[in-house]
Symmetry: C2
Subunit: 227 residues, 2 copies
DNA sequence: CGCTGCGTTGAGCTTCTTCAACGATCGTGG
DNA sequence: CCACGATCGTTGAAGAAGCTCAACGCAGCG
């Protein structure tokens, strides 16, 4: 029923005509996932891509010893797993629902048809992939060129930004998941939070963060300062 | 003169008609760069994208202390810097010619027009970006989940593959550049090469590599073994 | 011939991880 | 509603991995 309603609000389908939206609607499948449920695994055949309607999804890789690196967290209105639609045919990472989530599924084959008949849709998809590429660049930079305190500082500033550049906000994910996103482990993250608290750069009460010294935090993020 | 000749051989323009190629040819500029010359810097206005005709180009980020992380090395027939054409407007990293190089430059504005009139070109570009995304996923995995010996082992196996799965080959870049690509520094790389030599996993004579124990190398790459 | 850039080696140190124990919190079933 | 278990987070001590700094060899090139 409201599939079409959803579609019309998405950046990916921005500017499309009613008929075009209708055509896309016909190809979509709705899927629900429980918290912790696996959506696909690395190496699975990539039969299509997804779009988050409700909930959140993490896309991640695992090391031989089981360490997890989160590549990206997707929330409502964000498409993911587009890569195998256009290159190769297998998913290059794992995807799991972080909460009870509702997704739309777009089968590869029909989507390719749609995109070929629809230059605007192609442009939107190009924009989406380019955006992702930029985010991956940032992740690479962060992992390789910053130490953990710098990564955490960057993330906190990013979160603050997302909340309207306000100084008080809540972590949007569990700390253990944040550790995985920042390419470290919970113990290390915990110690760094403790140090940042001791220096009165931020105050931490559970998931509640208050930035006390934004300048100090920015210096950390830039690597101008050490903890 | 031979601009059109070049274009017809590229994956990016695969399947296009003669007229379409002609239209693209009209928008292209040829540019030459000397070894070490900067092509663009992070934050520069992204006025278009490039394609390598001859030579090699590294795209990299720099940390506050000047450490370099190479994101990607582009050789002949490979396009780069497409991101600002489709998302945002600034280059997210630096680009420099590693050798004397000849590039084609495609201005953003005219290329967008071309792509909108040309679904096949759009598909090719989507494939190219998706490919890049996959490579970035691998880099993230490698940087975050493998230790340096594992990264080096992976790279050597990749090189061997590229040369037809043969056991003897030459490093295609300087060791200091390899260090930067693997997210480490020359000293560390050198020590690990020495260890791999001592264990008779590979033999190293300057840039000449011989794989002596492929299985051992694969175990290292998978993280099943330590040095 | 000497300079310059690249690569190697050693010693010491910083950062991060590992392993272990413990505390807090939350949801659930009795 | 309480108690329990599970998950999550914190803290300490020890160790590993990689980085910094410094010195030096070597090759290529002006």
């Amino acid at each position: 029923m409201e599939v079409r309603q959803h579609l019309s609000q998405l950046d990916l389908f921005k500017g499309l005509t009613a008929e075009q939206l209708e055509a896309i609607t016909g190809t979509v499948t709705e899927k629900d996932y429980r918290k912790g449920e696996l959506i696909f695994a690395e190496g699975d055949e990539g039969v299509g891509f997804y779009l988050v309607i409700r909930g959140r999804v993490k896309v991640y890789k695992l090391s031989a010893e089981g360490k997890e690196q989160i590549m990206h967290i997707f929330g409502p209105r964000m498409p993911f797993a587009e890569v195998p639609v256009f290159a190769g045919s297998r998913y290059p990472a794992n995807a799991e629902a972080m909460e009870s989530s509702r997704l739309f599924f777009f089968p590869k084959k029909s989507f390719i048809t749609l995109i070929q008949e629809n230059p605007l849709l192609a442009m939107n998809m190009l924009a989406s992939l380019s955006q992702r590429l930029k985010q991956f660049s940032n992740l690479i930079e962060t992992l390789s060129l910053k130490e953990v305190p710098g990564r955490l500082a960057s993330y906190l500033l990013y979160l603050s930004d997302k909340n309207g550049s306000i100084d008080e906000f809540k972590l949007d994910i569990a700390k253990s998941q944040l550790a995985s996103l920042l390419g470290t482990i919970p113990e290390t993250l915990s110690r760094i939070f403790a140090k940042m608290g001791a220096r009165e750069i931020v105050s931490i009460k559970g998931p509640e963060i208050t930035i006390l010294d934004r300048e100090g935090l920015e210096d950390l993020a830039e690597g101008n300062t050490k903890l």
